[in-house]
Structure formats: C-alpha cells, structure tokens
C-alpha cells in the first residue's frame, strides 16, 4: 500500500539491486529465444498501459472505463505520422504521448464534471466516437484493417532493437510514474480518491487535480501505444474499442490496484496466460472471464494485494497490531463506510453528511451515484 508516511520500502532504495535487474532485463534478447523476447516486450507495453490506468483508477478512484482510447490515439499518432505525413519516426514517437495527453485533456474536461458512472459512460461514448471514426476513415486510418508494416528506423527494425528500446523507455516511464505516485500530487490524488468533498474544504480544487491525473495517465497510455507500434509495426481500430479498455481493467484488478506493481504483475499474467492458452485453445475469452469472476469472489485485492497482506500479517504477528491496508478493511462491514464510497455502493443510501446538492459553484456532486 502506497502512503506518504516516511517510506518503508527499503528495496526501492538499493541501487545495486536495480542495476542487476536492469542488466537482466536488457540482456534478454541475447539469451532467450525470440518468442520470449517478444513476450517480454509485450508484457512491458501492457504493463505500462495498465500502470497508466491505475494512476487514475487505483490512485485516483476514477471509473476510467475507456482508458484504451488514449493508447489507441498514441499508436495511431505514430502510425499516421510515419505513413501519412512522412515525418521521421522520432517525431511520431514524441507526438504519440502528446496527442494522447491532448485527447486526455479534451475528454477529461467534460468527464470530470461528473461522478462515477456518468464519468465512465461519457468517456465510453466519447471514446466510441473516436473508434467509429477510425473504423470508417479508410483513406487516413486504414479503416477496419488498420495500418500494417509501418516502417521504422534501422535500430528498431530487429526484435532485439525494438525490445531494448521498449525496455528502456518503459523503465523510464515506470520510474516517472513512481515519482508521481510518491509526490505531493500523488498524495493529493489519493486523498481525492478517498474523499473528494473533504479535499474541497481543505483547499484542493478537485476537478483540476483529476484532470491533471487524466492527462498524465493518457500521456503514459499514449506512450504504451507508441511502444506497441514499435513492437508490432501495426495499428488496428480494436485498440480504440472499449473491450480492450475493460481488459486493462482486469489486468489492474488481477495484479492489485492499490499497489504500484500490481498492474504490471496483472499485465504479465494476462499476456503470458493468453500466449500459452492461445496455443491450446481458441477459448481464451472464456478463460479470461472465468479468471475475472474468480478474482472478484476470492481475491479482490489482486495478487499483489494478497501478497502484501500476507507479508504484513507475518511482519506484525509478534506485535499484535491489526493488519492494515485495504485488504483487511474489505472483509468487514465497516469497510464499506471506511472506503468512503458510500454513494457508489449499491447497499448504501445517499451520503448522509450533506443534503443532495443539485448544482453548486464548486462542490463535486459526491452524492450522485
């Protein structure tokens, strides 16, 4: 669980361990067969995408139902820059995240006016609009075929080259995300997640912060889209379709969305499972759906949440302190209130703290489901 109390994650502080890990990751192409290198690259791409979603989902508490749009925008931006504008790839690689961030701003500006379900619905509709346009605009976007065989600069043309580029970029991106999460903004964002109304009266402009979070998340998602193009050399409209967005959700849930590493773990599991399941069966969707249902019933805090809770329980066993963290809270009835989600939980009525505010100058409509 990420907090802003004096950090107690000693593992993060040991540079030597990080250097070794980096060396291992970068050495992969020299050691592993191509299929595994490809898989590794895909894991990093999806992990970055899932981590970017988690910035607004796990840390921000927003129902970002169509996060995949920004991923698609970044990918298409790179593809179009190279194939339609004829500009150098490096320009496209920079443009991708920027275009995605701009889309994040455009969509976010309208969505942050709303809460929860409405937020998610409006996002789906705006995103679906983009998908529909991409699907039909043959001359520009390639329509439902997408664009294939996108030419890349020489160093990126081989799998190893692409892999190294992806690994380094993703690594830097994860580092940046880590900084953001530990920063004052990250703390503020989590506070907004826990209680937007409290933040308002503490002097925080909730909407402005949520919008910033969405823009940042969109930018990182766009970067993931760019990396995907580097790996696959193709783009498809399905990258903009909402089903992909829900898959990213599943990755976050599977890994544990209250942890930083959760989304990466979830993405790794899904990508690997899909690759191996794909060899034996064509019913991957069935497997994914079953995993999701089992998760919801038996391990809602995800793999990392589960692991974290076990570690905490061990560490505190002697002292006798109650195991902290959302996992502990979730099982008890009090947790529903403690999660501060009173209005979103179907079991609860309206939040009793304030009367239903129809519209007001600055307060967020917390009470609306």
């Amino acid at each position: 669980m990420v907090t802003v109390a004096p950090p107690r994650a000693p593992a993060v502080r040991r540079p030597a361990a990080w250097l070794v890990a980096a060396a291992v990751v970068l050495a992969a192409p020299a050691v592993l067969p191509p299929f595994y290198v490809y898989l590794g690259a895909l894991v990093l791409v999806m992990g970055l995408l899932a981590a970017s979603l988690n910035l607004v989902l796990g840390y921000g508490g927003l129902y970002q139902f169509h996060h995949g749009v920004f991923y698609g925008v970044g990918a298409y931006a790179l593809a179009l820059t190279i194939t339609r504008l004829g500009w150098p790839a490096w320009v496209g690689i920079l443009l991708g995240p920027l275009a995605a961030a701009a889309a994040g701003w455009a969509i976010g500006v309208f969505c942050v006016r709303l809460t929860r379900l409405y937020f998610g619905m409006l996002q789906i509709s705006l995103g679906s609009l983009l998908w529909a346009v991409a699907l039909r605009w043959y001359p520009v976007t390639g329509g439902d075929n997408g664009i294939h065989g996108i030419p890349l600069p020489a160093p990126l043309q081989t799998l190893s080259g692409a892999y190294v580029f992806i690994a380094v970029t993703a690594g830097l991106a994860f580092g940046a995300l880590w900084c953001i999460v530990r920063s004052p903004f990250g703390a503020t964002l989590q506070a907004i997640r826990d209680n937007p109304q409290r933040c308002q009266v503490v002097g925080i402009d909730v909407r402005a912060h949520q919008l910033l979070a969405i823009v940042l998340a969109a930018g990182f998602a766009g970067l993931a889209g760019v990396l995907y193009v580097v790996l696959e050399r193709s783009v498809f409209p399905t990258m903009l379709f909402w089903v992909l967005s829900l898959e990213i959700f599943v990755m976050c849930l599977l890994g544990g969305w209250f942890t930083f590493s959760g989304p990466l773990v979830g993405a790794a599991l899904i990508v690997v499972l899909r690759a191996f399941a794909g060899r034996h069966t064509e019913y991957w969707t069935l497997i994914l759906g079953t995993i999701l249902i089992l998760l919801i019933f038996f391990m809602p805090e995800g793999v990392m949440g589960f692991v974290g809770e076990r570690l905490r329980a061990h560490g505190r066993g002697a002292v006798g302190r109650r195991s902290a963290g959302p996992a502990a809270g979730r099982g008890t009835p009090a947790a529903v209130v403690a999660e501060g989600d009173g209005a979103a939980d179907p079991g609860a009525g309206r939040e009793a703290a304030t009367p239903p505010a129809a519209d007001d100058a600055g307060g967020t409509e917390v009470a609306r489901g």
Partner: protein, 249 residues
C-alpha cells in the same frame, strides 16, 4: 473585536423545501460560537452554505470583509475557512500522517508538485499538528482503522492543516464517549486560547455547548431565533419553548 464572519438573511431551498430561510449569524474573531437547534433546524445546511459546499439562494455571507457566498469551497478554504463534517470524513486508506500532510501540502501550494517525494515537505508542520491533537503516536496507522472518536479528532487535525482563521465544526462530539468528549472540548478550548483560532460549531450536547461557547445562536425551522451570550439564550422564552424546555433546567 473585529467581526470575522457575518451571515445575513441567508436562504436555501431544495426542490422547494426551504431548509434555511432567514439565518443570521455574527462571529467575532477569537471567539467560540455555537449554533444550536432541534433536528431539522438547518444547522448543517447553514454550515454547508458557509463553507461553500452549497451556495445560498439569497442572502450574504461575508468573511473578513469579503463576500464569499459565490466562491467555490476550495477557494473559501484558501481564504481561511476550515471545516469538519458531521460524519467523520477522513481519508481512510491513507495513514494518519498522510491525512494531515495532504492538507498541509495543499496550503503550501504544493498539491500539484509531481517530481519530488512528498515525504520531504510539510513534515514538521504535520507533526506539530498531530502533537497538538494527541495523534502523534498513531501517525503510521491507517486512518480507516482508528476508533470513531479518534477519527473525529483526526478530522480536526486535517482541518488545522490548512491553518484556518475560522474553524467550523459540525457536531464535533457526536457519537463520542464522555472521556472523548471531554478531550475534544479541551482541544477546542486550547486551540481557541493558544492560537487565537475562531471556532464555530453546532452541537446537540448542551453541556458541551454551555461549557465552552461564548455566544450561542439558536435556529428553528431554518430561521435564527436569537444570538446572544449563553445566559441570555438560556432565559429566552422562545428558545425555552422550542428547545430547552425538556433538556435545560
């Protein structure tokens, strides 16, 4: 002493239902003022109007000489208004330390700082607030696991993080045991005396009100009946009839 807050003839209706219709309030700097009234009198709505959670349909709200009736809540806070809610609204997943630190960071204008770790900022100030409110020993605990009474105190601590000039407390001792109530009253008294904080609160517990308030405003059905010193209020005929008849002596 200067008047810090003035509420003039404020009205607010919800879908036609008039929750507040003609509320008046005057709070002098450095004082402790209480608002009392039976259930449904409109106290919480009034507090929401003062702190910006709601905007009034009619009337003025003037804080430190500035009309704030139309300002959004977060800007009112920057002007010096702090507040706690009737139900303990803290940040349950963050630690006690982080709960207060968020408010301090906001006051310092750092809430959008992206790159440097939060652990570097506002630490001293946060610890000072936790010490004053008696929560320092609990700094690393997750706020959601605190007892109800401690959560209410944490709420006050969070509000203190924004260094308010006027602290608005909505039923601060609701649901507390006698010991917790006494501790909270002591805290409020200390804050008022030692930091010159102006406190406005509403309560149902009459002992609390009369032990610490210097001026009391009585509301009934959305209206202000009277605002005066405690003894004068106790003797006021309409107040006795509406409210204190059963509880007071």
């Amino acid at each position: 002493m200067a008047e810090l807050l003035r509420v003039e003839d404020v009205h607010k209706a919800f879908d036609g239902f008039p929750a507040v219709r003609g509320a008046h309030l005057s709070v002098e700097a450095g004082r402790v003022v209480a608002v009392i009234g039976p259930n449904g009198a409109g106290k919480t709505t009034l507090f929401n109007l003062i702190t910006g959670v709601l905007t009034p349909d009619r009337g003025r709200i003037v804080f430190a000489g500035e009309e704030i009736g139309r300002l959004p809540a977060h800007l009112r806070c920057r002007r010096g208004l702090g507040r706690t809610f009737q139900l303990a609204t803290i940040f349950p997943r963050l630690t006690v330390f982080a709960n207060v630190q968020v408010a301090v960071l906001a006051r310092q204008g750092r809430s959008r700082e992206l790159l440097r770790p939060a652990a570097r900022f506002g630490v001293e100030e946060t610890r000072a607030i936790l010490e004053v409110t008696g929560l320092l020993s609990r700094a690393d605990e997750v706020a959601g696991t605190l007892s109800h009474g401690d959560q209410r105190i944490l709420e006050i601590a969070i509000a203190l993080g924004s260094r308010p000039r006027l602290l608005v407390l909505d039923e601060p001792t609701a649901g507390m045991s006698p010991e917790e109530t006494a501790a909270t009253i002591g805290l409020i008294g200390r804050l008022a005396r030692e930091s010159g904080l102006t406190v406005l609160f509403c309560e149902h517990d009459m002992d609390v009100v009369f032990s610490v308030a210097e001026s009391i405003m009585v509301m009934r059905q959305g209206r202000t009946i009277v605002q005066d010193a405690p003894e004068a209020v106790r003797r006021h005929p309409e107040v006795q009839e509406a409210y204190l008849g059963a509880a007071g002596a």
